[in-house]
Structure formats: structure tokens, C-alpha cells
């Protein structure tokens, strides 16, 4: 066993020297959950251009807190989600301060895509529009439960709410999502493209 203070002692080990037993563990966590963290950052309102930064910061913090992780209190994903919430909030506040000093530039239009990629993009845009119009509380529950596949009990623990509240929000969000899917299937590709301009 390595004492916590050994890892954070004043004598820093050479970079990547292999003496950090947590680096490999972090690699495993990254491999298994980086996409979950990335999507969670998006669901928590992180601007697209900052998502990589949020993911980076989450895993830096995770590395520092690995020794304190307690499996009895929840899953690795729930633990990472908690860190992601804090980091995403930090970035949103930074972005808000930054935006007040910047002129907002209109992003360029996406170049034309092959049909398959275009169809996939339609789905993504439609779902993102659906998520954007959901109240944040419902959006987070829906994202964790139905997009990320977290059990309701785990969602409740991650968000610090009652599991019945999770079910109620989820039921409402799913009804809205079903209507969203009806709308998606009803629209033609031309109607969708017109909606993008």
C-alpha cells in the first residue's frame, strides 16, 4: 500500500516514471468512461468548444481523488458525474465572464455531408434541440437514465434526489421525447434542412 502523502510528497517523481500507481488506473477509467464524461459535460450545458477542456479537467481531478474513491458509496460513473458537475459549472461561469468581453461570432455553416452522415447529424441535432428545451432538472435525469443507461437508483444518488422524483421526471421527459421522435419521423429531409438555415 502507498500512503497518500507519499504520492503527494514534496519530492515529485520524474514525469511518467511509473512510480505513480494511479496513472494506470486513471488510464483504465479514461478508457471506460471518457465518452460518458464528454456527453455529461454536454448535458450539463458546457459549450461545445469547451467540452475537451472539461473532460481534461475532470480526469486531472479524478487522478488526485482516486485514492479516496469509495465503491460502497456509488459507482465510478456516479463519482465522475459529480466531478463533471463541478467542473462544468466552473467552465460555464468562466465562459459567461469571457462572453461579456467578446463579440459573438457567427459560426460558419457546416460543409455538405454524405447522406449517411447527414442522416446521423439530423438525429443528433433533433435530440440536442429536444434536450435544450427540457428544463435542466429533467434534462439531466433523462440524459443519465436513458442516454447513459444509469439505473434510477444511481441517478437519484448522483443528483441527491429521491428516486420517486427521478421516476416522475423521467416519465415526463419520455413522453416529451416520444413526441419529439414522432416529429422527427414526420419531417422530410428537405424540411429539416430548411430549418437549419
Amino acid at each position: 500500500m502507498v500512503a497518500a502523502t507519499d504520492r503527494r510528497g514534496p519530492t515529485r517523481s520524474p514525469p511518467g516514471s511509473g512510480s505513480d500507481p494511479w496513472r494506470r488506473e486513471l488510464a483504465e477509467v479514461y478508457r471506460s468512461h471518457a465518452d460518458f464524461v464528454r456527453r455529461s459535460a454536454g448535458h450539463l450545458g458546457t459549450p461545445r468548444h469547451a467540452i475537451d477542456d472539461v473532460v481534461h479537467d475532470v480526469f486531472i481531478i479524478a487522478h488526485r481523488r482516486l485514492p479516496d474513491f469509495d465503491q460502497a458509496r456509488g459507482s465510478v460513473r456516479a463519482w465522475l458525474f459529480g466531478i463533471t458537475k463541478r467542473v462544468a459549472l466552473h467552465h460555464r461561469r468562466s465562459a459567461a465572464r469571457h462572453q461579456r468581453r467578446l463579440r459573438v461570432v457567427t459560426p460558419p455553416r457546416d460543409p455538405p455531408h454524405p447522406d449517411e452522415a447527414l442522416a446521423r447529424q439530423r438525429v443528433v441535432q433533433h435530440i440536442e434541440a429536444f434536450l435544450d428545451q427540457l428544463p435542466p432538472a429533467k434534462r439531466t435525469v433523462f440524459a443519465l437514465a436513458d442516454i447513459e443507461g444509469m439505473p434510477a437508483v444511481e441517478v437519484a444518488r448522483s443528483l441527491g434526489i429521491n428516486v420517486n422524483t427521478v421516476y416522475a421526471r423521467l416519465r415526463s421527459a419520455r413522453q416529451a421525447f416520444a413526441q419529439c421522435l414522432d416529429a422527427l419521423n414526420a419531417r422530410t429531409p428537405e424540411e429539416v434542412d430548411d430549418g437549419r438555415s
Partner: protein, 262 residues
């Protein structure tokens, strides 16, 4: 409570796949994370504060960590936000790597089934059900090979997947893995236009593994990096020394052609 219907599940699965980062982006981000760890970045959200603010904020974070830890006991979440201060106050928590590995194994066994290349979910999650803890563990061959690695990283199957956490590692295997990691990162840094960064990583390798198994790789890469930063005479001098020291090296021919005199 019933889960989402099949149409919703399929659509959300496609969305989840589309929102996953491409392998190259994931690899590049992992490189960036490792670089930050090497440079000693611990809490990026705190790093933006000036030094005095960081010190006082550090005290506040430690205090907040204790408060949150108490809150965690009340069942707020799966977090126990320890800190050096709170850990010391608790009598010095000894981090148990093996316990954390078990937690990762457990989370992987409960995660939706994924193919080896991408985090795609063929079966789709069923959020209405509690995943069974009895789900069989994935074999190592199922491991998504997305952790960045150089050509020399894996010596076994050729897959890029790092060692599975369930496999016991000998000291020499640990050392070689560490060497491969450093050399691979230095190579990527050099080929990514960051020769200075490559030299830093190679210096670290030389300090930690002076006579390591990859010392020839280190030296060859160092010569290439010296040339890239404009230190041609030094690169050529070290290339000549390399040829004398390692005349039968697999790198000998390449090293002799690096950094020709203009």
C-alpha cells in the same frame, strides 16, 4: 416503471454513438491529460487563481471537502472528496489500488456491452432495470484499444489495449510498460511538432531508466528531437556516439541519416 420503447432506445443509442469522440481525438486528449499530470497540475479549477488566492482557496477547499464528506455520509452521492488535510486528520488514509481496481472491474462488468473498437451499445441500456452484478466480466480481447500507444507499446497480441487490471504485473513488466509509455509520448510529441516537450520526456526516461530496455530508442529519438530544435552539431555528435556505442542497433542506419550537415 417501464423503460423507453424500442424506437426511443435505438434513437438514443445512435445519438450516444454519434456523440462519442473519435479515437484520434480521445488519444490526443489523453496525451494532454498526461502532460498536465507530468507538470503537476492537480486541480485545474483552482489553478486560475493567483498564488495567494490558491493558498487560501486551498484551505477553503479542504474545509469544504470535510463538509461534503459529511454530506456524503448522509447519502448525497458516491463522492468522498478527501483532501490531504482531511486524510491526515483521519489518521492517514492509505489508498488501496487493488480496491479501486475492483471498483473499475465492477463498473466495466455492469456497463452496457460494447464492441472492441468503439463504445457502441448493441443491446441498448435498460434504465428501468438495475444492472445485475453477476454480469460476466469482459475478456481482455473486448477491451477497447483506444489508450494512446506507440508502435512498441504492446508486446503480446499487437492490440493497443493496455494491461488489464486483473492481471498481476511483475516489476520488470511494470518498468517496461512505463518505459514504453514515456517513449511513446515523446515520439508523439516530436511528431506533433513539440520537440521541446519530447526532449523533456526523454530526459525523464533517462533519469528513471538510465539502462532501461528502451535506451536505444530513447537515444535515437533524442537525436531526432535535437535536430528538430535546431541543435544540429549536438545531434550529429550524439549520433556519432550512438554509432560507436550501439553499432548493431536496429536504429543505427536511421540515426546515421538524421540531421545531415547542410
Amino acid at each position: 416503471m417501464d423503460g423507453p420503447d424500442a424506437r426511443a432506445r435505438a434513437t438514443l443509442r445512435a445519438y450516444r454513438q454519434a456523440k462519442s469522440a473519435p479515437a484520434t481525438q480521445a488519444d490526443a486528449l489523453w496525451d494532454r491529460i498526461e502532460s498536465s499530470l507530468d507538470e503537476g497540475v492537480e486541480d485545474p479549477c483552482l489553478e486560475e487563481l493567483p498564488a495567494a488566492g490558491r493558498r487560501s482557496a486551498g484551505v477553503l477547499v479542504a474545509a469544504a471537502a470535510v463538509v461534503v464528506a459529511v454530506g456524503a455520509v448522509a447519502g448525497l452521492g458516491g463522492l468522498r472528496l478527501g483532501s490531504v488535510e482531511s486524510s491526515a486528520a483521519a489518521g492517514g488514509l492509505a489508498p488501496d489500488v487493488s480496491a479501486f481496481r475492483a471498483a473499475i472491474q465492477s463498473s466495466r462488468s455492469r456497463a452496457p456491452k460494447r464492441n472492441p473498437v468503439r463504445e457502441s451499445d448493441e443491446s441498448g441500456p435498460d434504465p428501468a432495470s438495475v444492472p445485475s452484478p453477476q454480469t460476466p466480466e469482459r475478456s481482455r480481447s473486448d477491451a477497447p484499444p483506444r489508450i494512446p500507444s506507440g508502435p512498441a507499446r504492446s508486446r503480446r497480441s499487437g492490440a493497443e489495449a493496455p494491461r488489464g487490471v486483473s492481471e498481476p504485473a511483475s516489476d520488470s513488466e511494470d518498468a517496461l510498460q512505463a518505459e514504453m509509455s514515456l517513449i511513446g509520448r515523446a515520439r508523439r510529441a516530436l511528431h506533433g511538432g513539440r520537440a521541446d516537450r519530447a526532449l523533456t520526456l526523454l530526459r525523464a526516461h533517462a533519469e528513471a531508466f538510465a539502462d532501461g530496455q528502451m535506451r536505444e530508442d530513447r537515444q535515437a529519438l533524442r537525436i531526432e528531437a535535437l535536430c528538430a530544435v535546431g541543435k544540429g552539431p549536438q545531434a550529429r555528435a550524439e549520433a556519432a556516439a550512438f554509432a560507436r556505442r550501439f553499432p548493431r542497433s536496429a536504429h543505427a542506419a536511421r540515426v546515421s541519416e538524421l540531421c545531415p550537415r547542410r
